[in-house]
């Protein structure tokens, strides 16, 4: 790589500064504040805090439903990430193959992405409403008495469906552009060599999409873990009761609903550590196997 030449030694730092300031203000400072707050119990109005050591952590981890919440978070994150990846890829490959009216298909499939998350959540809530939801009536035709808010896994099912539905168009857009960046010459060459379309997909297209897939996998995991609490809140209608919730929803609920700043901070630090480990695993294990062109 060519070395850039700067007149002054400080120039590169100066150019980096705006980004660094943004990172410091919006990421490092809040994270540091969360770590500090996690060792205190704080009166919400005056911010008078009492140092309690690790009590917030032990209280959070020993709560009777912590294990269940953590387990649901894992199931939810894995399913939402993989389902949106698979559906996004399937739709992108299909739309890419369509010859007539291709742009119409593409636009229609991307449309959902333009829906604001709370609206998407609301639409989902209405579709799954236990009294008037059309999807509940549909499930009843197969003898499935779908009851959101009453049955644990029925509610989890609705959360997974609505969250996945929101994320599929995002994956679709990236896969579509990924597909379009595969050189025509490669596609044509493979078409001459191999007749089976399925086989061509798995041996040529899929490996060439791997960087996109890896990128989307990370984004999907982040989405499922951190950006779905609004949808979850909509589905449980602000009353989690015995419904499944994710760890981030619990952070939101205890912090912003219950005003337990210390407890909520401790839970978010636990998540921070978990995500740190996950990111290391992702980059160490998966990225090595990916070939960037």
């Amino acid at each position: 790589m060519e070395k850039a030449q700067f007149q002054s030694r400080w120039m590169p730092y100066l150019l980096l500064a705006p980004q660094m300031v943004i990172i410091a203000i919006f990421f490092i400072w809040p994270a540091a504040e969360a770590i500090r707050a996690s060792f205190f119990l704080e009166d919400p109005f005056f911010g008078n805090s009492t140092f309690v050591g690790l009590q917030n952590y032990t209280d959070a981890l020993s709560a009777s439903d912590y294990k269940r919440t953590a387990w649901f978070t894992v199931v939810f994150t894995v399913l939402v990430s993989l389902l949106s990846l698979a559906l996004g890829m399937m739709l992108a490959v299909s739309a890419d193959r369509v010859l007539r009216g291709q742009s119409t298909y593409k636009t229609l499939l991307m449309w959902v992405y333009a829906i604001a998350p709370p609206v998407a959540g609301l639409i989902g809530v209405m579709l799954f409403d236990q009294h008037i939801g059309p999807l509940v009536d549909f499930a009843a035709m197969f003898g499935w008495h779908l009851q959101i808010g009453v049955d644990y896994w029925d509610t989890g099912f609705a959360m997974i469906v609505v969250s996945t539905w929101k994320q599929v168009p995002y994956c679709f857009i990236f896969f579509l552009s990924g597909l379009q960046s595969i050189p025509t010459s490669v596609k044509e060459a493979s078409a001459i060599d191999c007749q089976s379309e399925t086989r061509r997909f798995w041996t040529i297209t899929f490996p060439l999409l791997a960087p996109t897939t890896f990128f989307l996998l990370i984004l999907n995991i982040t989405y499922a873990m951190f950006e779905t609490f609004g949808t979850i809140d909509q589905i449980v209608k602000d009353q989690p009761g015995n419904s499944p919730v994710t760890l981030v929803y619990k952070v939101f609920r205890d912090g912003f609903r219950g005003n337990d700043i210390g407890g909520s901070s401790a839970q978010s630090v636990i998540l921070m550590i978990f995500v740190l480990l996950l990111t290391i695993v992702q980059f160490r294990l998966i990225e090595r196997r990916i070939h960037y062109t």
């Binding site: 009294h131 015995n242 337990d260 407890g263």
Partner: protein, 432 residues
């Protein structure tokens, strides 16, 4: 034309601001939709009633959102003069000593007369401190009552039950008539907190938490309520009780659709039910267990109260005091009660509504007030517990698990007690 009106408006504003320097105060509330409009109407009437003060109501979202926004504003020194805080948040705001000017003090310091006896007894104590001094000014007050579908009960040939024993006797007839006999919308509020009030059973140590958060323990793990929930689970299994989750509306809908014959909801639900239910309905007191007590007591209020926040000038506090006075006035209370279905907070407003024959026309609207005015007991005035939003979450979760058959009543209440006490202990530590 356009310019003239702008000029005129400018002249008027200028003229008005010249004539008197009005004191402006803000009021954050959590009343959306129709209720929000009625709330704004009260502010408009207050502004029109005098020239010295102007109150601006601001809708801040749901109850929790409003409390969270208030805390953030308070820490930034930008707090509103008056904020509406709901029952479960009462301990948080009252516990923050110095954040709130007690309503009684506010009114008296402004040189206005304050008579706590003017307020209905079930209303008076819930937002008061341990000496009975009113800290919050009750605003939208309601209490759980039982609504019933008249046609359903006639069809089954039964009378509305006064006790749960009577309910058990009539439930099979309602099932035969094609109804689910019972549903209710808020297990912590109706089946737990008010269960303790109705039966005069202590709900927490330290005088139900009113004496301070230090060392307060929840007493929810008792035989009376465990028997109740064992029965409710039996009713559910027999088809006598419908459970539709922890959401309020999900449990109200089947009653409105005519599937459920009797529904325990809020006295404040009356206004909405009148619009949504296509059948004749009536209301009566929350049933009690005769096996537990032969002298049932009153229930306490739910809903929310208004709190005057500290950190404002004497002039603004005076404006808040004037507004509290105005809010308690008979006309406004009667207006609020009849528009929304919430109970009037003063005896005078109740008498005025009665005198004009309002309850002959809508007898259901009176049930809540009568129930709040029943005999009181040491444990019928409600509770004061911190981190109560989370405690209610634990209750809702454990009740859901009982109903889903994932746990039994004994272990569920053991969990509620343990986690509730842990939360109370945590809250006490924030209050030093």
């Amino acid at each position: 034309m356009k310019y003239t009106s702008i000029a005129l408006a400018a002249a008027m504003t200028f003229g008005a601001s010249q004539a008197v320097a009005q004191v402006e105060i803000t009021w954050w509330h959590a009343m959306g939709g129709q209720l929000g409009e009625t709330t704004n109407e009260i502010a408009t009437r207050f502004n029109a009633s005098q020239d010295d003060y102007v109150i601006t109501p601001v809708y801040k979202g749901g109850y929790e959102d409003t409390l969270t926004a208030t805390i953030a504003a308070f820490r930034a020194g930008e707090q509103p003069n008056i904020v509406q805080v709901f029952d479960a948040g009462a301990a948080t705001i009252i516990g923050a000593t110095g954040a709130v000017i007690p309503a009684a003090d506010l009114i008296q310091e402004a040189g206005l007369e304050f008579d706590p006896e003017a307020y209905i007894s079930g209303v008076r104590y819930f937002y008061a401190d341990s000496d009975g001094k009113m800290v919050g000014m009750p605003f939208n007050s309601s209490t759980p009552i039982m609504y019933y579908n008249i046609e359903a009960l006639n069809k089954a040939g039964v009378e509305p039950p006064k006790t749960w024993e009577e309910f058990e006797a009539i439930a099979p007839a309602l099932v035969d008539a094609g109804y689910i006999p019972l549903a209710q919308s808020h297990s912590p509020w109706i089946f737990t907190e008010n269960f303790h009030s109705r039966h005069n059973i202590p709900f927490a140590t330290n005088n139900n938490g009113f004496d301070g958060s230090e060392g307060t323990k929840i007493l929810v793990n008792n035989d009376a309520i465990k028997t109740h929930f064992t029965k409710v689970k039996e009713w559910l299994d027999k088809g006598w009780y419908g459970y539709y989750g922890a959401g309020w509306g999900d449990n109200q809908a089947p009653f409105e659709n005519g599937d459920v014959a009797m529904w325990l909801g809020s006295s404040g639900s009356f206004g909405g039910l009148k619009n949504s239910a296509s059948f004749e309905f009536d209301a009566t007191y929350l049933p009690y267990w005769e096996a537990i007590t032969s002298e049932p007591t009153q229930t306490f209020i739910g809903g929310a109260a208004l709190f005057a926040l500290s950190g404002h000038s004497d002039e603004e506090n005076r404006a808040s005091a004037e507004f509290f006075k105005f809010l308690s006035s008979t006309d406004i209370q009667k207006f609020w009660h009849q528009e929304t279905g919430y109970v009037p907070i003063t005896e005078a407003a109740y008498e005025a509504a009665k005198a004009e024959g309002y309850y002959e026309e809508s007898p259901q609207a009176e049930v809540g007030i009568q129930q709040l005015s029943l005999a009181s007991g040491d444990n019928s005035k409600g509770y004061r517990m911190g981190f109560y939003v989370q405690i209610r979450d634990v209750m809702n979760r454990e009740y859901g698990r009982i109903f889903a058959g994932e746990t039994d009543v004994d272990s569920a209440f053991a969990v509620i007690e343990e986690e509730g006490n842990r939360l109370l202990d945590r809250f006490a530590q924030t209050n030093n």
